[in-house]
Amino acid sequence: MTQALLALKAVSTWIEVDGGAKPILIDVSFEIGRGEIVGLVGESGSGKSMTARTIVRSLPEGGRSSGAILLDGEDLASMSVPALRQVRARKVGVIFQDPRSAVDPLWKIEDHLTEGMRVHAGRSRDEARVEAIGLLEQVGIHDGPRRLSQYPVQLSGGLLQRVVIAGALAGNPELIIADEPTTSLDVTTQAEIVAIFSALRRDRGIGMLFITHDLALAASLCDRILVMYAGRIVDAQSRDGIFSRPGHPYTRALVGARPSAGTRGERLAVIPGVPTSASDAPGGCAFHPRCAFAAEMCKSQIPALMPIDGGASACLRIVDIRETLRV
């Protein structure tokens, strides 16, 4: 069996506040293969971004995590700080939600793109410049030489996000973690950015964790989709499976809540209640207060992620639900 590019094994994350521990992620395990794009979807506060931050060990103050995070078989979680810096510089690229705040406003695009090449790879200014123009080309910016001399404020959000993506590619990473990279952009730009990611996977074989709250967007780009609720992964399905046979009632409800051109004029379906974070989650299955299929046992037992029909779902009633609904 080939080794996965990234494997999270029983990763839990919590924030230590005033002597107590506030859980953020609970027992999260998944794998990403080389050249595979895995989507991570969920509502605000479900722990999507914290998953990204846990992987690159960039947790906020008081953040702690347990479990193993294997990148190419090396455990990021227990790695020394100098080794971690090497990994961050060469193997992993991270793309944040808001490109505007992700770059130093005083630095020109050229300096932003070439800083890593010069510091980590020891390239000369001229070599790095040529390389930077090449990277901009790959993200669809064809007037590289002009852009390099500009400052972040002179670029639009979409353009700047491409620059950030180019910057994430500078170290030739094997894995890219994109945390809602298109949320702050308009829909047209969003489509272009998604096309860039597809091309990167095709041309460079980069594996990617694509975090979004947009199920349809995830389905258009990703090979597999993980659904997160209250700090746990509750559903894992293939791109097609997510719509044709959604496993978990939560995923089912999310799919049902999508607007569609065929149901014009009708009210959109909603999931009753409000999303919860891991720290406020009720006992038992965290989704039970909002679940249409909840039974008595859901209030006390915590479901584990069980493989079923090519996917995996963390639901106590998954077998019943499948049989009842015949899907």
Binding site: V56, V94, F96, V119
Partner: protein
């Protein structure tokens, strides 16, 4: 640019030109003694009069601008060179390093500034170099505390996280990113401190700790004139006016720069 800032900058530029071109501007040798005309009031030949040793007050004022401006410049330079790195280190690192540095600053603040300076002068002997170092010791923690506050804000910005996950070390992030982003703040502080340091140095000179006669300096001129205030009251005015004017000018310029800093911080 507000009118007050224009005034401040104009006065500063004026003083700097006077200090730089002192030999060309001063009508007499500032140390030339002429006891026959000691305490002479203003006249056509000596517009600001002569002091107790018959030295031309205008010439002494012009030459005095040199050390009177050089002193605060050195203080501010020292405060910046030492205080800025300490402040950034404390603000960026947080935790025990911040605790250690901040408590050290507090220890310095605990002493009345001039008393602390007097202790340093008493230990190392009076002189220009001693009072510059004595005043710099007070201004290093002042600068560091302000920079620390700015560095805390700056290091919590998302781009700093982004730099960390790109594998850049603390030293590089602080020196190449956080420091430059605090430039406006630091420049505003230096202008304010320049004025205060000028006042402190003049005060120490006035007490006789600083520049020793016959070298001219506004603080020591004021002390000398004050000794003979009942004989020649007008001699007090020129050095006092020069000190007040320059301190006001640096404060106005500093206020303006600090305004710019807080405005750019909010953007």
């Amino acid at each position: 640019m507000p009118k007050t800032a224009i005034f401040g900058v104009a006065v500063i530029v004026g003083f700097v030109i006077v200090a730089a071109l002192a030999p060309l501007i001063a009508p007499y040798d500032p140390s030339a003694i002429d006891l026959s005309s000691a305490f002479a009031g203003p006249s056509a030949a000596h517009p600001l009069g002569q002091d107790g040793a018959g030295r031309d007050i205008l010439s002494r004022l012009v030459f005095g601008a040199r050390l009177s401006l050089l002193g605060p410049l050195l203080v501010v330079l020292l405060a910046t060179l030492v205080g800025v790195p300490l402040g950034i280190a404390a603000g960026y690192a947080g935790g025990w390093l911040d605790g250690l540095l901040s408590r050290s600053f507090d220890v310095v603040f605990a002493f009345p500034a001039l008393l602390l300076a007097a202790v340093i002068v008493a230990t190392f002997g009076p002189g220009f170099g001693t009072i510059v170092i004595a005043v710099a010791v007070i201004y290093v923690p002042l600068m560091a505390r302000v920079v620390r506050a700015g560095a805390i804000v700056e290091s919590h910005k998302p781009y700093v996280d982004a730099l960390k996950v790109q594998g850049f070390g603390a030293l590089r992030i602080c020196a190449a990113h956080i420091g430059p982003n605090l430039t406006t703040l630091i420049v505003g502080q230096t202008a304010l401190y320049f004025g205060y340091a000028l006042l402190d140095l003049a005060g120490l000179s006035f007490l006789g700790f600083g520049v020793q006669p016959p070298t001219p300096d506004w603080g020591s001129m004021l002390w000398y004139a004050n000794q003979q205030v009942y004989v020649a009251p007008s001699a007090v005015v020129p050095p006092a006016a020069a000190i007040v004017l320059s301190v006001v000018a640096f404060n106005l310029a500093g206020d303006w720069l600090s305004d710019l800093a807080s405005r750019s911080g909010r953007r």
